[in-house]
């Protein structure tokens, strides 16, 4: 029983990590309709930035803040310079962001080398909790907490501000939104930067768990794409549920169907899409 609970908790914590990783992508993809294949790379960058600033004797938290800011700024630059030319052109987005991910990943390799790294768990949270006979790292509980906080923030932005509606409208008919007096360009830049910052944030927080190594960006990207799709495009709530679902099922899958462990997330996605072609919470396509 206790091992079951332990694994449930493990799955939950892992799911929350997934949610954090996917959140930025959900927003950019689901709301702005931009396929950002550089998401995983921004995640990686976020982790490396923290790595750098921690080595400069800075506190983890300050380094984290710097990382979020820098990725946001990068987001702004990318949007203003490049992404804004490809709104509504999905295939061009694919090419552009794919190219960007190549470039950024190589820059990362250039600056930080090819060696694998990890981020230390911040001292404050470097402890393990004993729950009954099992041990659970405090930092993972912290990740769960941050995940919930993030969900709360997104909920607030969506239901208490008009920003969500404006972006969706902007995707439907950009010119019309402009004609109603909204500076769509500015809004989109902001949202893209927000998404990039979330990637940076999750990289910083995920660094101690996942570590950094060349080629990690692709794995992160695929995982987050899957989470977003299972949840349904345009619905961060969907991503939230699907992340937890994937985290828990994957954890139990590792135990119960060890031979399927390579496939399990893909299978979940396939099954969900076969039953619900628009994802769990996606809007039905007419």
């Amino acid at each position: 029983m206790s091992i079951f609970l332990a694994q449930l908790l493990t799955g939950l914590a892992y799911g929350m990590l997934y949610f954090m990783i996917a959140a930025g992508l959900t927003i950019i993809l689901g709301v702005m309709n931009v396929v950002n294949l550089a998401h995983g790379t921004l995640f990686m960058l976020g982790a490396y930035i923290v790595f750098t600033f921690i080595s400069d004797e800075l506190n983890f938290w300050i380094a984290l803040l710097i990382s979020v800011l820098l990725t946001a700024v990068l987001g702004i630059i990318l949007e203003k310079l490049l992404i804004k030319h490809v709104y509504g052109k999905e295939l061009e987005q694919v090419l552009l962001t794919f190219g960007l991910s190549f470039i950024i990943a190589d820059v990362v390799k250039w600056i930080w080398g090819t060696e694998m790294q990890t981020l230390p768990v911040p001292a404050l949270l470097d402890a393990s909790l004993s729950i009954g006979e099992m041990v659970f790292p405090l930092y993972r509980l912290f990740v769960v907490f941050i995940g919930c906080l993030l969900a709360l923030l997104l909920w607030y932005l969506e239901s208490k501000t008009r920003i969500g509606a404006i972006i969706r409208a902007g995707v439907d008919d950009r010119a019309m939104v402009g004609a109603l007096g909204i500076n769509v360009g500015l809004v989109f830049t902001g949202v893209f930067a927000f998404g990039a910052a979330l990637a940076g944030l999750s990289g910083a927080l995920g660094g101690p768990l996942i570590g950094m190594y060349t080629g990690m960006d692709n794995e992160i990207l695929v995982t987050s794409l899957i989470v977003v799709v299972i949840g349904g495009l345009g619905s961060w709530k969907g991503s939230f549920i699907s992340a937890i679902l994937v985290g828990v099922i994957e954890t139990f899958g590792k135990v119960w169907f060890p031979s399927l462990s390579m496939l399990i997330v893909f299978l979940i996605m396939m099954v969900v899409l076969i039953i619900r072609p628009q994802g769990l919470f996606g809007r039905e396509v007419a």
Partner: protein
């Protein structure tokens, strides 16, 4: 019809002329490019003419390749083996397509990604048959009735011919009623349905053709490379072909082939000269998007148009009349 004829003749000339200027390695590379072009054209078909963007197309490529590798141990007739590959990959496309085409756009992209991954893992885990992650050597030897094909030059011509045949078949399909209808469905599915078309049949048809052709490319590749491994079905490979199609030009037949050539050459040569090749490759992609007219092929057309238009004005272009009328109806 005339267009098909002219293009075919041009292609034949191209295939014949290339060996005159290429080195050994160049011949090898060109052979590979022909195969990849077939593969890219197969994906280009569903992307550009049916609006289905797949990230699992390497799955079919892998099926074709593994069919030659595995069944080739027992079947030696190359024609039969190629046929089996095409049938198996086509059937797989047909069966999975029934389920997949219920999803659209991004969901389709992701479900095909899962499909490709499924095959990847299958090839990876069926070690007794496929050699698992370590891959397997291909024992089958291509023999089309005039002796075993072993020399690079022979391979070159065979693949060149295969490429031309694939092109002609695709061209015929695209111009055919079914092809035009498929394109209409891509534009506006609901209206095509209201006009009386069974849209699912056409989507499935295109998907099946495309899968079969990808399988065909895969089986050729197997003969050519004499080694297969699960990487042939990996999503990164699917992603690469997708990039080939996009940089070449979606919505055209020949674009993906050009994309394949450019991509393979770039990938190969840049990485030879610098370790920083991902950066340069990335920059090229970004630049292509920014200055691109939707694919390299459109640049070619653009240049062609310039020449062509000049000719027309010389002859006192009849087109201008239409233009004038357009000004105000």
């Amino acid at each position: 019809m005339k267009k098909i004829f002219i293009y075919t003749v041009l292609l034949i000339l191209l295939v014949l002329a290339m060996p005159l200027v290429l080195s050994d390695f160049g011949i090898n590379l060109a052979t590979e490019i022909y195969i990849m072009s077939i593969f890219a054209m197969s994906l280009g078909l569903i992307m550009g003419y049916a609006g289905m963007v797949s990230l699992g197309h390497a799955g079919f490529f892998g099926i074709g390749a593994y069919t030659v590798a595995v069944i080739g141990q027992y079947v030696s007739n190359s024609y039969l083996l190629l046929l089996i590959s095409v049938v198996i990959s086509g059937l797989t496309a047909l069966i999975t397509g029934v389920v997949f085409i219920r999803t659209s756009k991004f969901y389709f992209l992701m479900i095909t990604l899962a499909f490709g991954q499924l095959l990847y893992v299958l090839f990876w885990q069926l070690k007794p048959w496929t050699g698992g992650a370590d891959g397997m050597s291909v024992s089958a030897i291509l023999n089309l009735g005039f002796g075993e094909i072993l020399s690079p030059n022979a391979f070159y011509y065979v693949m060149g011919v295969a490429f031309i045949i694939a092109y002609i078949l695709l061209r015929l399909f695209v111009e055919s009623p079914a092809g035009k209808i498929t394109k209409g469905i891509m534009e506006n599915e609901a209206r095509m349905s209201a006009l009386g078309y069974n849209v699912r049949v056409y989507k499935l048809l295109a998907y099946t053709l495309s899968g079969a052709l990808a399988g065909f490319a895969g089986s050729l590749y197997s003969y050519f490379n004499v080694f297969v491994s699960p990487d042939l079905s990996s999503w990164t490979f699917s992603g690469q072909v997708m990039v080939m199609v996009i940089i070449g030009g979606v919505g055209t037949l020949f674009g993906p082939a050009i994309g394949a050539s450019v991509f393979i050459c770039l990938q190969n040569f840049i990485s030879t000269y610098t370790e920083r090749w991902p950066m340069i490759m990335g920059a090229i992609l970004v630049i292509l998007v920014l200055i691109g007219k939707g694919g390299i092929i459109h640049w070619l057309r653009y240049f062609k148009d310039i020449i062509f238009l000049r000719k027309q004005t010389d002859e006192g272009a009849p087109q201008n009349q239409v233009k004038k009328e357009e000004v105000v109806n």
